[in-house]
């Protein structure tokens, strides 16, 4: 069954792993396959080409990617839930009003805007990359980021191989991996932050709608209502043109100042409820919107980092190269089976006495040298010598055979060039020679080396094998020196 559509993240995980296993495929085959697929792809974008190749090369393959994607999705959901739960809790605490003590706007802004804004600054410090001046600080704050916690949980749940685990290490040496890990961390933390702010906002809206919240401001500091009005107007500046009713007036600010010892100093309850549009828009403007922007940026950058993760892998780099380069093949499609070794080599002939006749094959040695060699190495005296093979005609071979033919039981020595292979025409000649001299005569093949050198072990073995293959019990090869 074809694999369902995959995400870029899944492909960035699975393609390099599949290519690693694909190393077992012969290089020529890989080149041909990838080039063929490459020629069918219309995309010019490298990421699209690699993903198109992946769909064509391994349509049924399911790797670790989908599992990691599921884990990633689950962690995203958990981060959103955690953020939302925290948001609801914090909003309920900040907006707490039992009719006795109105909600303190100062505390509200501190809890729902200032503290999250500080966290926002901390998040922003992680964005510039690991620049020298910030690195120490980044190392310090990154583990405190909720995204880092999510990343650590993800690493545990993923049970990834060491190679994959590096992909989720924001300190990784390869920038693409570090970049991916960083943006994943930022993404998760922003998901939690957005969920937090949405939950705060939703809780606030519900409380405003279904309860009678009253607001006031109080502080121990020596701040007069005019100063507070200026601060409030500065806070409300982003929306003062669009929603003027959400900008508290100087009168409202003055009427809302509250001292706990000064009971009854507040204006009537209806007037005090007028703060709620201001509080909601403050949460939206300084809590939710920056987080939404940051989440949007993080998602875009994460997407780019996933592409980088895919393309930066050297195996993928080579795949892209194979798709773009003409496939050059030079090897054979299949190879011959190795020939089986012969059953046994010819027996080695060391020494004998008496007289012998000789055939010198392919003029490999002079008659005098052959005579001396036979005397010294074989202990026989050559009484006759004939030449055959080489540049001579087949008729000359027959004449040589005729000169050997006799009913007399004797030894025939055949001198051959050791450096030449035992050709079938020589083996034909030896067969005919056996027929002529009878089964009782010994035939000794003597490979002779050229120049001053000795016959090598390989040469001797070659001759012993070829002669042994004839299965003639009285056909020998001179024993190795």
């Amino acid at each position: 069954m074809p694999r369902p559509a995959t995400t870029l993240f899944e492909d960035a995980i699975d393609v390099p792993l599949w290519l690693e296993a694909d190393r077992l495929t012969p290089h020529a085959e890989r080149s041909r396959r990838d080039r063929e697929i490459g020629l069918t792809l219309e995309h010019r974008d490298r990421i699209q080409r690699v993903r198109g190749w992946w769909r064509a090369a391994a349509p049924d393959e399911e790797g670790a990617g989908p599992h990691l994607e599921r884990v990633r999705g689950a962690i995203t959901a958990v981060m959103a839930l955690l953020g939302a739960a925290l948001g609801v809790s914090l909003a309920l605490a900040a907006f707490q009003y039992d009719g006795s003590q109105p909600v303190n706007v100062v505390r509200l802004i501190a809890l729902l805007v200032v503290v999250p804004a500080l966290f926002l600054v901390v998040s922003l410090l992680l964005l510039p990359g690991r620049v020298p001046l910030l690195r120490g600080l980044q190392d310090l704050i990154a583990p405190l980021n909720p995204g880092a916690l999510a990343l650590a949980v993800f690493r545990r749940l993923a049970r990834a191989s060491p190679e994959l685990a590096r992909t989720f290490d924001w300190r990784a040496g390869r920038s693409s991996a570090a970049r991916f890990a960083k943006w994943q961390l930022v993404c998760w933390s922003q998901v939690a932050a957005v969920a937090f702010n949405v939950a705060v906002l939703a809780t606030a809206v519900l409380l405003v709608t279904f309860t009678d919240l009253a607001f006031r401001w109080s502080t121990t500091l020596d701040v007069d209502p005019e100063a507070v009005t200026r601060i409030v107007h500065a806070i409300a500046w982003p929306w003062h043109a669009f929603v003027p009713s959400a900008v508290p007036s100087a009168e409202l600010v003055e009427q809302s100042q509250f001292f706990r010892l000064d009971n009854g100093g507040l204006a009537n309850g209806r007037a005090l409820t007028a703060w709620w549009p201001f509080t909601l828009l403050t949460i939206v403007t300084y809590g939710l919107l920056p987080r939404l922007v940051l989440l949007g940026v993080a998602l875009v950058r994460l997407r780019a980092a996933e592409g980088g993760l895919l393309l930066d892998d050297p195996r993928v780099t080579q795949l892209v190269d194979r798709m773009a380069s003409p496939a050059v093949e030079t090897a054979a499609a299949e190879h011959a089976e190795r020939a089986a070794a012969p059953s046994s080599d010819a027996a080695g002939y060391r020494e004998a006495t008496g007289r012998a006749r000789a055939v010198i094959w392919e003029s490999c040695v002079s008659v005098e040298t052959a005579r001396a060699h036979a005397r010294r190495r074989l202990g026989v005296e050559l009484v006759a010598a004939a030449e055959a093979g080489g540049g001579r005609t087949l008729g000359a071979d027959r004449q040589a055979l005729d000169s050997m033919g006799s009913s007399e039981q004797s030894t025939v020595v055949v001198f051959t060039p050791a450096w030449e292979p035992p050709l079938l025409e020589l083996l034909d000649f030896l067969g005919e020679l056996r027929r002529r001299v009878g089964d009782e005569s010994s035939i000794v093949v003597v490979p002779i080396a050229d120049g001053e050198r000795a016959v090598t072990a390989v040469e001797h073995e070659t001759w012993a094998r070829a002669i042994g293959r004839l299965g003639d019990p009285r056909l020998y090869v001179e024993a190795a020196a």
Partner: protein, 465 residues
């Protein structure tokens, strides 16, 4: 236009298969010191995107050349009909086992293949070859003789004089030792046999040269990747508490070293695959510098930089950082930045020598502690890894596909390779190594610098060869 086809023919055991293995870059071709290894003709097509540009055909050797020639002469109807008589010979004997080798080798020729006749120039010429050459002349096909050098003897001139009687082109070609350039030269020379083959052969050789360049770049990517992965590798060991004992430290170091060793092995395998030497083994006795452990003192002494070189490399890259300050100050610093940068760089280099890797105990966000070992901080290890990888890639790239022995080094290959790396390249590399040591990550630009520098080092090795 027909595809050029070349039948590699000759006496048995004279290196026909070696020539095919070399030209086809196919180390699976059966090659043996014993004759009769090739019993059937086999085609080795050179394809470019599926189009065959030429084809080499390995054939068995002549076994009964004189009998074959005798048959041809017995059926001779004049010079104009000789090619037809050869065809008749093949037709008449295709079922005759006695002439199976002759039929196998003559079939592609009568079908139009050019002839590459191979002899062994290290052994004496003999008149037994004349029957073979005469049979080939009867075919009337374009032909060239190649004098291969299997052993140490020298009978080349003797052979050249004899071959010139039968072939208009005679070339000497050492199948086992020929480098890439010589192989390309030989392929180009095949175009001289028949002018209609020159164009496809030129296209083929151009493609092979381009493919070779791509492979060099692919090898550089592999080596660069080895360095990035090895130098940025970290391993972790779970700890019971916030303190790491000696056993945990040893365990961490050992895991880190094993990770680097495995990465080096993988990288070598990849480089061998790139050069189509997938099955190549490294012989311990023939290539000790490559077999010895990467962390051994021997590796460091052969491939590492000397203390002075390290100091100068550190000083040079420190000076670059200092110069940036000078430029920023518009020269108001009187180049003090460069001087101070150099001094700091050199001092840092010497102080940092001898330390393997960064070691830290980290608290985990999900609870518990772990010992993190890495990245590598030893200043010489990058150079050791690089030197070993360059040497290995150089040997593999030069390696001829006709060879069946293990990978071996020549006498000079183990000399201080770092000495061959110029100071500017050393500085560029050291900048990347420092980024990795400092966990700053290697971005695409750094990666390009690394691969480019390694590619040039591989190129200069190839050029030096």
């Amino acid at each position: 236009m027909s595809v050029p086809r070349f039948a590699i023919v000759g006496h048995p055991n004279k290196g026909k298969s070696s020539i095919v293995a070399t030209l086809a870059e196919d180390d699976a071709v059966a090659i043996s010191p014993h004759p009769g290894t090739t019993t059937q003709a086999r085609a080795y097509p050179m394809r470019l995107d599926g189009d065959t540009l030429y084809e080499l055909i390995d054939t068995p050797g002549f076994q009964r050349a004189r009998e074959t020639l005798a048959w041809l002469e017995a059926h001779d109807r004049g010079a104009g009909a000789r090619a037809a008589v050869v065809r008749e010979f093949v037709a008449a004997h295709s079922a005759d086992k006695r002439f199976s080798d002759e039929c196998e080798l003559l079939k592609p020729i009568v079908a139009g293949a050019g002839i590459l006749y191979v002899v062994d120039g290290s052994r004496p010429y003999g008149r037994q070859y004349e029957a073979e050459m005469e049979v080939l002349r009867w075919t009337g096909q374009p032909r060239m003789a190649l004098i291969n050098l299997i052993s140490t003897g020298d009978h080349v001139e003797e052979w050249r004089a004899a071959l010139a009687q039968y072939f208009s082109i005679v070339r000497t070609f050492d199948a086992v030792r020929a480098d890439f350039g010589r192989r390309i030269d030989l392929l180009r020379s095949f175009g001289a046999i028949d002018e209609s083959w020159a164009a496809p052969l030129t296209r083929a050789t151009d493609a092979l040269v381009a493919d070779r360049e791509r492979r060099l770049r692919a090898a550089a990517v592999e080596i660069g990747d080895l360095l990035i992965d090895s130098l940025s590798t970290t391993v972790t060991v779970p700890l019971a508490g916030p303190d790491a004992d000696a056993a945990a430290l040893a365990n961490g170091r050992s895991k880190l070293q094993e990770r680097v060793r495995r990465r080096e092995r993988d990288s070598r395998r990849s480089v061998q695959e790139i050069y189509r030497h997938g099955a190549l083994a490294i012989d311990e006795s023939a290539a000790p510098y490559l077999v010895v452990d990467v962390f051994s003192a021997q590796s460091f002494s052969v491939f590492g930089l000397s203390a002075t070189q390290l100091a100068f490399t550190g000083a040079a890259s420190g000076a670059v950082a200092g110069t940036v300050i000078d430029v920023a100050l518009g020269g108001a610093s009187l180049l003090l930045g460069a001087g101070i940068g150099a001094a700091v760089g050199a001092a840092g280099t010497l102080v940092g020598a001898g330390r393997l890797a960064k070691v830290r105990v980290l608290g985990q966000p999900v609870g518990g502690y772990e010992l993190r070992v890495g990245p590598i901080t030893d200043l010489n290890l990058p150079w050791v890894l690089l030197g070993r990888a360059l040497l290995h890639a150089k040997l593999v790239a030069e390696r001829n596909h006709a060879r069946r022995d293990s990978l071996a080094l020549d006498a000079r290959a183990g000399a201080h390779l770092a000495d061959d790396i110029g100071s500017d390249r050393r500085r560029a590399l050291e900048d990347v190594f420092r980024r990795l040591r400092n966990e700053r990550g290697v971005n695409a630009a750094d990666g390009s610098v690394l691969i480019e520098t390694i590619g040039r080092l591989l190129e200069s090795e190839a050029a030096a060869k």
